[in-house]
């Protein structure tokens, strides 16, 4: 009987690993499965970075093609999804550089600002504030809100909070340190909260004129 027991879960193989192996062995259909599994996420990430639909479509195609061509270089010590996201982030940044020729594009853009790092609006939200808007209105509010964030904050928030990468995976994907990811995530969350409060915050009751002058007289002196 073995004396060393494997840690629970450690030996469980991620389903992507088997798919990657099949692709490496020449099974293109297995790659079809991987593309279907992650295409929406990759599109969303590309759209968040490039802020342009056409670019996002190109990035998505290029990222999957590049991942396919470079699959032999995939080490398997990170998740296939994280590896794919890293390719998509790089492709997105390259696309941005092309658009803004000569202008530096990096993950550090505009992150020096302290705007929004201290909460100012303390109005509580209604229990289900989304219900006051149609799906289309809500999507517009969320788009406008997140587009207003500096790029370096936006990407961290999207990867960590929307797409569910861990702090460590986000750091690895973006080439940032873990403390840098944490600091950007906090500021991104606080800035988004502050902006959404403008839409979802309960209005603080104002003192009605009748209440200010209970007898109703004397106001028209």
């Amino acid at each position: 009987m073995s004396t060393i027991q494997p840690v629970a879960g450690q030996d469980e193989q991620h389903p992507d690993v088997a798919l990657v192996e099949r692709v490496r062995a020449g099974d293109v259909a297995a790659y079809d499965t991987l593309v279907r599994k992650y295409e929406r996420q990759i599109f969303r990430i590309a759209q968040h970075i490039t802020q342009n639909r056409e670019d996002a479509e190109d990035v998505m195609q290029d990222a999957f093609l590049k991942a396919y061509e470079k699959l032999d270089q995939f080490q398997g010590n990170s998740k296939f999804y994280t590896w794919l996201v890293r390719i998509a982030v790089n492709e997105s940044l390259m696309r941005l550089r092309k658009r803004r020729t000569g202008k530096l594009v990096s993950m550090d853009e505009d992150v020096q600002t302290d705007e929004g790092s201290v909460p100012r609006d303390f109005a509580d939200w209604a229990p289900n504030p989304e219900q006051n808007y149609t799906q289309a209105e809500l999507a517009e509010i969320l788009r406008k809100t997140i587009q207003g964030l500096p790029q370096g904050f936006r990407v961290v928030f999207v990867l960590r909070d929307v797409e569910g990468l861990s702090t460590e995976e986000t750091a690895e994907t973006l080439g940032l340190s873990v403390p840098a990811v944490k600091s950007r995530l906090l500021r991104a969350r606080l800035q988004l909260r502050e902006r959404l409060t403008r839409y979802f915050g309960r209005k603080t009751p104002t003192i009605a004129p009748a209440a200010a002058a209970p007898n109703g007289d004397g106001a028209e002196a």
Binding site: D32, E39, I146, V162, L185, L190
Partner: protein, 78 residues
């Protein structure tokens, strides 16, 4: 615990990676500070809303077109 101290660990509170001994301090602070309680709750809701709602919807036909294009390129690549 002050508001500034609470704000510093807000992310850890949200991500539930707080040491047991700090939890009591946080609970005490939240009980007496309505502002921090609102910030905590609305930041949680902010994350939830962005998670729940698809803001860049891809129509099925676009998704299918892109998918076919990717697979076509991959088949040619090898």
């Amino acid at each position: 615990m002050t508001c500034t101290e609470f704000l510093k660990i807000l992310d850890d509170v949200i991500d539930e990676s707080i040491a047991v001994e700090t939890r009591t301090e946080i609970e005490l602070h939240l009980r007496k500070c309505g502002h921090c309680e609102v910030v905590l709750n609305t930041t949680r809701k902010t994350i939830e809303i962005f998670r729940r709602h698809e803001i860049y919807e891809v129509p099925t036909e676009v998704s299918e077109r892109l998918h076919s294009a990717i697979m076509e390129k991959c088949k040619k690549a090898k």
